[in-house]
């Protein structure tokens, strides 16, 4: 079997993989290989033809393909090696990646560092346990997006969307623009899982109702979907009997959560965070397996690609330093998700430097304080007018705070602003 050696393997050629590779390149690493399973670089952005990407990073509104092209062009200009139509099959604990492609067959890559940037997948209908038959016309929103934007096919005309994740909201608008009627977007939770701007631009601008605390409880139709039963849910998210409502439709699109694709990660024995379903990482996005880094949606599901790129650059730079064997005196600080916080990334910090902690809150709240605690002592806090689970939050930690907290666990909490 062909075996190649390289300094850095990046698994995934989407925005995270490209940004990580570019950051490693900027640190002087030249021996890089990006593995991409599709036939071009760009990842899921290639099918996201709407605009709104890049406001933070480039200060302008780009479409998905435009955003991806900025990185892809640089990768090509810098001659960073990449392989398309190539799928990584396994990652071993001694940093050997097995991959397959039409041109190379099965081959191995031995690397000094590996960056995981495989992205995420959508939660399928079967996992939601909706009663009824399994007719045609039930798609995850991303699958429908691929059919419409990449292939020019309409999966349906009369649409109900379950889940108010961003892809679902985007597809509500897209299907409407293509002449379909979107009857409703149902959201199980009492708040939307998507960005506020998408609610405004994709639903409100098109008079598409967003039904909060609603879910689809039954699919009707044997061969092709003919309608769905929707129901209100109580505060425990259980359907309320008597609230059944039938909506005739030929299509149900699902936008009910994204799941980081960590099959390779798990097989390599890397520790995962139960909440994020991504690897547990330090401030450099290094996983529990030394030399393996994770970034982008395979680490934690992001709202904005700008943050994906930012996170991937951290991983790419750190992987480069790892390859160059540059170490700083270590510390050990654990970060804990306290009241009102679902998770943090990173989960641990091993170096006293400026570290931005990303996290999500558990509930929609107004007038709150994000606070950092060492036991009962509040180390720092910042005010927020509102927070929502659909919008990622950040907190910056200084080298001084981290040095002081060496050996301790710091807790991030959401507090009422009194």
């Amino acid at each position: 079997m062909k075996t190649v050696t390289t300094d850095l393997v990046v698994i995934g050629g989407g925005p995270a993989g490209m940004s990580a590779a570019l950051a490693a390149y900027d640190q002087g690493i030249r021996d890089i290989l990006i593995l991409e399973r599709d036939n071009a670089l760009g990842g899921i952005l290639r099918q996201c033809i709407h605009n709104g990407f890049g406001l933070h990073r480039f200060g302008e509104e780009l479409t998905g393909p435009e955003y991806a092209a900025r990185d892809a062009i640089r990768v090509k200009e810098l001659s960073i090696p990449y392989m398309t139509d190539t799928m990584a099959l396994s990652l071993s604990p001694d940093l050997e990646v097995r991959a397959t492609s039409q041109t190379n067959g099965i081959f191995k890559i031995k690397a000094k560092a590996v960056i995981l940037a495989m992205g995420c997948r959508e939660r399928p209908a079967g996992a939601l346990g909706i009663a009824g038959n399994r007719p045609a016309g039930v798609y995850s929103a991303g699958t429908a997006q691929k059919f419409v934007n990449m292939k020019g096919y309409m999966p349906g005309r009369d649409v109900v969307i379950l889940g108010s994740g961003d892809i679902g909201l985007i597809m509500a608008r897209r299907m409407t623009l293509e002449g379909a009627k979107v009857h409703a977007v149902c959201e199980l939770m009492p708040y939307s899982g998507g960005l506020a701007r998408n609610i405004e631009q994709c639903l409100n601008d098109f008079d598409i109702p967003l039904l909060l605390s609603h879910t689809v409880t039954r699919l009707h139709g044997k061969k092709r979907l003919e309608g769905v039963t929707i129901q209100k849910v109580d505060e425990n998210r259980r359907p309320i009997s008597g609230s059944e409502q039938y909506i005739p439709c030929d299509t149900l699109l699902l936008s009910c959560g994204l799941i980081p694709e960590n099959e390779l990660t798990t097989e390599a024995g890397i520790a995962l965070d139960r909440v994020t379903s991504g690897a547990i990482v330090d401030q450099d996005r290094m996983t529990s397996l030394s030399g393996v880094f994770a970034c982008g949606n395979v680490l934690q599901v992001h709202d904005l690609v700008d943050f994906v790129s930012e996170e991937a650059a951290i991983a790419g730079k750190a992987a480069a330093n790892f390859i160059k064997n540059q170490k700083t005196p270590p510390i050990s600080v654990s970060l804990n998700a306290g009241d009102g916080v679902r998770y943090t990334v990173p989960q641990i910090v091993t170096e006293a430097k400026d570290v931005t902690v990303y996290f999500r809150v558990t509930d929609v709240q107004k007038d709150v304080r994000i606070a950092l605690y060492d036991g009962d002592t509040c180390l720092l806090s910042k005010k927020k007018i509102s927070v929502a689970p659909g919008e990622m939050e950040t907190l910056s930690l200084s080298p001084e705070v981290l040095k002081e907290a060496n050996g301790k666990t710091l807790t991030i909490k959401i507090e009422r602003k009194d």
Binding site: M1, R37, D85, M87, L89, R98, T100, S101, Q102, T103, N104, G105, I106, R121, E122, P124, A125, G126, A127, G129, A131, G132, N133, R134, P135, A136, Y139, S140, G142, T143, K146, F147, V148, M150, K151, G152, Y153, M154, P155, G156, R157, E178, G179, T217, L219, K222, K223, R224, P239, D250, E263, T266
Partner: protein
């Protein structure tokens, strides 16, 4: 007018096995199937268990054919490239009464000719299967129990029959049967097929078929069974098939590995009116979860990848109904569990019945019993993978990432009898879309390959034949905009 020797109604596992056997014995066979593919009824969605044979009453057809069929299964699956594992089964009990039930099953099993049965204590059985709950106090071990993929078995048997000359007509729902001058005429209202002999293997509809020849003694009660299928990541939760002792709570549900490395949990057992209603219910799935937790602890239902509902064709006699109600006409009705296990033996018995009815049977010297489904890339060694990619680079292109199904396998399958013409048919053969994303990523690639290989418009492709289009139109953009 072409007169076939035998027309078989229904291409489930029984029809498929009968078609294979009668083709082997020199008959010209036509298989009539109302759906768009084979194995779309009870054979599509069941537990996939090859029962050891201790369950059926002594001297019943069920007992006789179960043990005989199960004994044939391993070699048959090997010949036809079908996934089969003799993983052994356990019936677990929770109290003294269950212990007595298990002793009864042991006795019955011995009389039925089942070998290797043993009664175990709770601790002994937990040593074999550590995930069993602490409530389990006793168990019956049946080492000859196995698991098989029911639709792969059906597809392969139909394939063997077809490569040896049998014909398959899908989308052919028999609506009337008449006899003229020693020939049966089977019509779907538009087209008529003629045959000297008829075998009714119509599953839940076998009573409807019986009534077409004036036989109203058979009543089939469809019994639904709902299942939950867990991610392959749960492999190893149990290694044997775990049944519950039948008793106060009914038959309970099973927890079992599948041949493909998933864990299957179910089924419920609810009689119903509608014969083709395979819809799942919230109550049914809750029941599956509740019951399963009694025998196996900490089942990770959060890793469920799909739910489905199967239909068993329960007859009105308590046993299989395999008989000749009219000259040259055989019923295979009421073939509920253990029908899958029994199917190879049922086929031999049907051949005997036809012989009594005058059919001239002799085993063909040129019969090829082998079926070669497309290799599953995932199961090859790296060396084998490289060999196959060198021969056909399309095996290097992974289409279904969850089950690692390559373009090579999909293309080969699309040209193999019985030809899959819809997405579900292809899925049953290749497993593309059967994994944890359930086709989320691969469907748009698969439809492109299907359209290309079958020479049809992508817009004409269906999920499950008939009126189940996957796509409804081209977008405005694709049509060149709206101006």
């Amino acid at each position: 007018m072409m007169i076939y020797d035998v027309a078989i109604i229904g291409a489930g596992v029984v029809g498929a096995m009968v078609a294979r056997e009668l083709t082997r014995q020199g008959q010209s066979v036509i298989l009539l199937e109302k759906a768009s593919d084979v194995a779309t009824g009870a054979s599509r969605a069941n537990s996939g268990i090859v029962h050891a044979g201790f369950d059926a009453k002594e001297n019943s057809l069920k007992a006789k054919f179960n043990v005989a069929g199960a004994n044939m299964m391993a070699s048959l699956c090997r010949e036809m490239g079908v996934a089969y594992v003799q993983n052994g089964s356990l019936v677990v009990g929770f109290d003294q009464e269950d212990q007595q039930t298990l002793e009864g099953l042991l006795k019955r099993g011995v009389e039925n000719g089942v070998t290797g049965l043993a009664l175990l204590s709770g601790d002994e059985v937990r040593a074999l299967e550590p995930s069993l709950s602490e409530d389990v106090t006793c168990a019956l071990l049946a080492p000859t129990g196995g698991i098989v993929c029911p639709y792969e078995l059906t597809i392969a048997a139909v394939g063997v029959a077809m490569y040896n000359g049998a014909e398959l007509k899908t989308n052919f729902a028999v609506s009337s049967i008449t006899e003229e001058g020693g020939v049966w005429h089977l019509s779907n209202g538009e087209e008529t097929v003629c045959a000297t002999y008829v075998v009714n293997c119509a599953g839940t509809h076998s009573d409807d078929i019986a009534r077409m020849i004036g036989d109203d003694r058979i009543t089939i009660t469809p019994r639904r069974g709902e299942y939950i299928l867990l991610d392959r990541a749960c492999e190893g939760l149990v290694s044997r098939t775990i049944f519950m002792a039948p008793g106060k709570m009914g038959k309970g549900v099973l927890v079992s590995p599948t041949c493909h490395g998933n864990i299957i949990v179910g089924p419920t057992a609810v009689n119903m009116e509608e014969k083709d209603n395979t819809s799942t219910t919230a109550e049914g799935l809750a029941e599956v979860r509740r019951l399963a937790q009694k025998s196996v602890k900490d089942i990770p239902f959060g890793r469920g990848i799909t739910i489905f509902c199967g239909i068993r064709a329960v007859g009105n006699t308590g046993d299989f109904i395999i008989e000749c109600p009219r000259p040259r006409f055989v019923h295979c009705a009421g073939i509920e569990s253990p029908g899958l296990s029994a199917s190879p033996a049922i086929a031999l018995y049907v051949a005997q019945l036809l012989q009594k009815e005058g059919a001239v049977l002799s085993i063909r010297a040129d019969f090829d019993p082998h079926y070669t489904p497309a290799v599953h890339f995932r199961h090859l060694s790296d060396e084998e993978k490289n060999d196959i990619i060198a021969r056909d680079p399309r095996y290097g292109r992974v289409i279904c990432r969850c089950e690692t199904v390559t373009e090579g396998e999909i293309v080969q399958t699309l040209h193999q009898l019985p030809i899959p013409r819809d997405l579900d048919a292809l899925k049953r053969r290749t497993r593309c879309g059967m994994g944890r994303c359930q086709g989320g990523f691969c469907t748009p690639y698969v439809t492109e390959i299907m359209a290309r290989e079958l020479g049809v418009d992508e817009l004409s492709l269906t999920k499950s034949g008939g009126d189940s289009p996957l796509l409804l139109a081209a977008t405005k953009t694709a049509k060149g905009g709206t101006k």
